[in-house]
Amino acid sequence: MSYTSDEMMTVTAARTLRNGMTCFVGIGLPSEAANLARRTHAPGLVLIYESGTIGAKPSALPLSIGDGILAETADCVVSVPEIFNYWLQPGRIDVGFLGAAQVDRFGNINTTAIGGDYGAPRVRLPGAGGAPEIAAACREVTIVLRQSPRSFVGRVDFVTSVGFGDGPGSRERLGLTGHGPRRVITDLGVLEPDPRTCELVLTGVYPGVTVPQVREGTGWDLRVSAGLATVPPPTDAELAALRELRAAGQHHPRSATAGSSQMTGAIR
């Protein structure tokens, strides 16, 4: 089956989730990937949304983090203060799945403002939401966003959520309990932090994508891993499940990824 680069990105993100994991899910691309994983190889994946729904099992892609279907299918629903204080903050959650408008070479995330200064930005984005504490507290973090030189920058204009801060030792100095970004999954490939320098390096490309293409889509001088791999294309089963999931969301008048497109769209 033929597929789009967005489908490849979602499938690649979904594959990183293992059965039985707990996943704190951001809205948009992350939610699509997490739901795909639950519908394919990880039926026991525990989805946790910041609206307080723990163990949600939506049949259709939720349009927001507060859809009724999340509450109705959850193992339990708790208050918003509780989801952050009792569930996210203590480091109980295996993986945080986040979108972003900008990410930098140290995996720091900006979802607040682009250009100008904070008081008068060129583009105002929605802001922090649950992301800063998800990035701080989950055992590991996966970031999902489309790649462009304006979204992949040397240093984000505003650190909404901390990845590796200024580099090695930053998270420890800040007392952040989780291990930080484990990978960034884009529409071109996969970047992972070098364990020594904390800098994101290219470790995987999608079939047909070249390294120069990825470097062109990156606003810093991107390093390439010696073990660079080509990510296997989506299987027919993965694609079918993804398209079914999206189709089930079609009774929603707008597509379920509208939120994230809008979020990153501002700077494309």
Binding site: G66, D67, G68, G129, L176
Partner: protein, 243 residues
Amino acid sequence: MAEIVSLAEAVAAAIGDGDTVAMEGFTHLIPHAAGHEVIRQGLRDLTLVRMTPDIIYDQLIGAGCARKLVFSWAGNPGVGSLHRFRDAVEHGWPVPLEIEEHSHAGMANRYAAGAAGLPFAVMRGYRGTSLASQTAGVAEVTCPFTGEVLTAVSALRPDVAVIHAQRADRAGNVQFWGITGVQKEAVLASARSVVTVEEIVDELDPRPNAVVLPSWVVGWVALAPGGAHPSYALGYSARDNDF
């Protein structure tokens, strides 16, 4: 004890120009009808507090009711941007809007501290972010037992909380269920409160996951069926994503 009145009476009784008003509801149970009544009554200079100031606050901002916005995520989840908010912040149009910006966890803890009668809450958060330096109400606090440095956020104590609930009984006890968000904390943290409801019933039969706010912590209750539209009220109405 709560008084059951019309929505117009509730808004007139509870909210005045210059007040700090928290309209809460996390995607679910957003008090849109009450927001429209605030616009209708022409209230001005409000400090609007809300974790996710989606369409409801965009309308209030566009109508010129707001002086300041306290929030943690300004977008309309899944369905679009907040044009009035972006115009106000990017271009100071129609009027400049002062903003005080937090994370969700920070806002939730600020409400919880307010509900608990404390001047601040302790949490892990903000450290290393640019937000910490741009936002009032964030400071460091040291654990007196371990010496660990944590984050303190100042309590939110709005003048008025406005929420939408599924039901109240005739005594003004309020019940809501599904995603219950931060509404209990918002009401308990605020000096006054307005609750719009889908239905007023003789008796609140117990419901799974229901939050009940007893009448004596509620100010005014007003019947407003469909009052969450285009948001939804689980068991009563569906989300209108076309809006």
